[in-house]
């Protein structure tokens, strides 16, 4: 019988977790890192700068004598719009709405989709069939028509926008998670956990869900831009954010209306919007490569 040893007598070597491993691989992908930093920069810009008093002009205060000024003139960094409002300030405030919708709706879809998908797959059998048929039915409903009906009944509320977008986006997430859980629950380490008599909640949350994290993270980073696009489409159609409040989508619509006289009104919001989505997609792509454990290990 070996001597009982205590933890502080041996030098315990630290290991490399799969997450750390993936991060090291992501760091090598210049494009993804650039995207990540750019997106963090834009997010901070949109959420921090309005908190500093005196830095930004009031996005809603009109200045009719100075309307339609090109960038740099009259103290407007990115010009002024047809009512003389500061475009830069409106982009920053609009970014809060666009990014906020993006994050919140994604969070909603992530939560619902993960729980729904994992329960459906883990329980299996008839429950699984019924739950997945419900998803199929929801999938078949035309999204735009539902949003139009919702807005005509309840008015143009921002929370309705979250609800409508979140309600659509969780469907795909639940399918992805279900597929993952279906293959994971047959794995021997899950059977080993069952042999140890662990509770179902314990098995799902400690053993199964952490292993779905790769595809889920990738899909999440790709959902944020998808949601932002949806929001801008709705705002463009006049179903989303109502004036005088702005989102990137509604700013692009205003810009499109004055494209001939003041092209910067279209150019700057579009630039912010497309660069943010572009960088998020780069991060998502990089993460997909980095988290694909099998591609680099073994």
């Amino acid at each position: 019988m070996p001597d009982p040893i205590s933890a502080n007598q041996v030098a315990i070597e630290s290991g490399t977790s799969l997450g750390k491993d993936a991060w090291l691989r992501l760091k090598k992908n210049k494009f993804a890192v650039l995207g990540l930093f750019f997106f963090i920069f834009v997010t901070l810009l949109c959420f921090i700068t309005p908190l500093i008093p005196g830095l930004l002009a009031d996005p809603d205060s009109t200045d009719l004598p100075n309307r339609g000024l090109p960038p740099g003139e009259g103290g407007f960094l990115m010009g002024s719009d047809s009512l003389g409002r500061d475009l830069f300030s409106r982009i920053i405030y609009g970014g809060r709405v666009s990014l906020g919708v993006g994050f919140l709706a994604t969070l909603v879809s992530l939560t619902i989709g993960t729980v729904y998908g994992s329960v459906s797959a883990y329980v299996g059998g008839r429950t699984d069939s019924i739950m997945m048929r419900i998803v199929d039915i929801l999938y078949a409903l035309p999204f735009m028509i539902i949003v139009i009906i919702l807005t005509t009944f309840f008015g143009n509320e921002l929370w309705l926008l979250f609800l409508a977008i979140g309600a659509v986006e969780w469907l795909t997430m639940s399918r992805i998670v279900r597929g993952q859980v279906l293959s994971l629950k047959k794995q021997e380490f899950v059977e080993a956990a069952r042999s140890l008599g662990l509770s179902h909640a314990n098995i799902i949350f400690r053993h199964i869900l952490p292993n779905t994290v790769g595809p889920v993270i990738v899909y999440t980073t790709l959902t944020v831009p998808a949601v932002m696009l949806l929001e801008s489409v709705l705002s463009f159609l006049g179903l989303g954010v109502q004036p005088p409040a702005a989102s990137w989508g509604s700013l692009i619509k205003e810009g499109a209306d004055h494209m001939r006289t003041s092209p910067w009104l279209l150019a700057f919001p579009s630039l912010f919007f497309s660069l943010s989505i572009f960088s998020l997609n780069a991060v998502g792509d990089g993460l997909r490569d980095a988290l694909d454990v099998r591609a680099s290990k073994d």
Partner: protein
């Protein structure tokens, strides 16, 4: 009084009778070797014994308790008495848990009161017992070789202090050079801890190395059960003979002759 008594156990998947009326007794401290070709129902039998797969009919009495009739809650408590070692050490460990968290979780199923230093010591002792360096306890499964992973899996199976161990082809996924190390480890553990074991393999020579008795399985049924020596040297059933002749052997005389010339 036999420790495990299995009577007329059936596990069917629709029309497929994977386990089709198996009965046997196992005495305390005995090692039963279970052989048969791929698809004969060995793994289903082990999964049924582990209660990972519900049986269709039959009874399974461990130490006087009939497992088939237990409620799920009671079953969850009693199943700590028997643990399983799986075939594939690459699939049987959660890739996101360190060795410590895998083993600590298993230790705490039996002794939830352990924590902090005592838990660390217990895990370290388990690792040493299975021939591993406790310094590696904060590492992740992908940082180990197949043989070491199987040692971790064995340590996890031992953590709840089981009485019956079911080893489902524990060495078939390993290099030949590692196989004997793992087999010796299992032999030592069974002797030291007075375990009862069911050892499953498709390889008769591996089974005969460890087992006291051997059961030969074909199409969901036991065709022959007997002392290891007897089954290996004087098989009675035609299928056992067929299995024995199918074991590839190396003609050492021929090799010596070739080397000499």
């Amino acid at each position: 009084m036999s420790y495990l008594k299995v009577r007329d156990l059936h596990t069917h998947f629709g029309d497929v009778r994977a386990v089709d009326g198996v009965s046997f007794d196992l005495a305390r401290g005995e090692i039963l070797g279970l052989v048969g070709e791929s698809g004969c129902g060995k793994s289903t039998l082990s999964r049924t014994l582990m209660q990972l797969q519900p049986s269709t009919a039959g009874s399974m009495v461990l130490d006087g308790t009939d497992f088939v009739s237990l409620s799920p809650d009671e079953l969850r408590r009693r199943r700590l008495d028997f643990q399983m070692i799986f075939q594939d050490p690459y699939a049987s460990l959660n890739p996101r848990h360190t060795v410590f968290s895998t083993l600590a979780e298993a230790v705490c199923t039996r002794r939830p009161e352990l924590s902090g230093d005592t838990l660390t010591q217990e895990v370290a002792a388990l690792m040493q017992r299975c021939g591993m360096n406790p310094a590696a306890m904060r590492k992740y499964p992908h940082e180990f070789s197949g043989g070491q992973r199987q040692r971790i899996a064995i340590a996890r199976a031992l953590a709840p202090q089981p009485k019956l161990l079911i080893a489902d082809e524990p060495v078939s996924a390993l290099d030949v050079s590692i196989q004997s190390q793992i087999l010796n480890l299992l032999q030592d553990l069974v002797d030291d801890l007075e375990l009862t074991m069911i050892f499953i393999s498709h390889d008769l020579s591996v089974v005969s190395y460890l087992s006291d008795r051997i059961a030969v399985m074909k199409s969901g049924k036991f065709v022959e059960v007997g002392e290891a020596d007897q089954v290996f040297n004087r098989p009675e059933h035609a299928y056992t003979k067929e299995l024995l002749t199918a074991v590839p052997s190396i003609d050492t005389d021929a090799i010596a002759l070739r080397l000499a010339s």
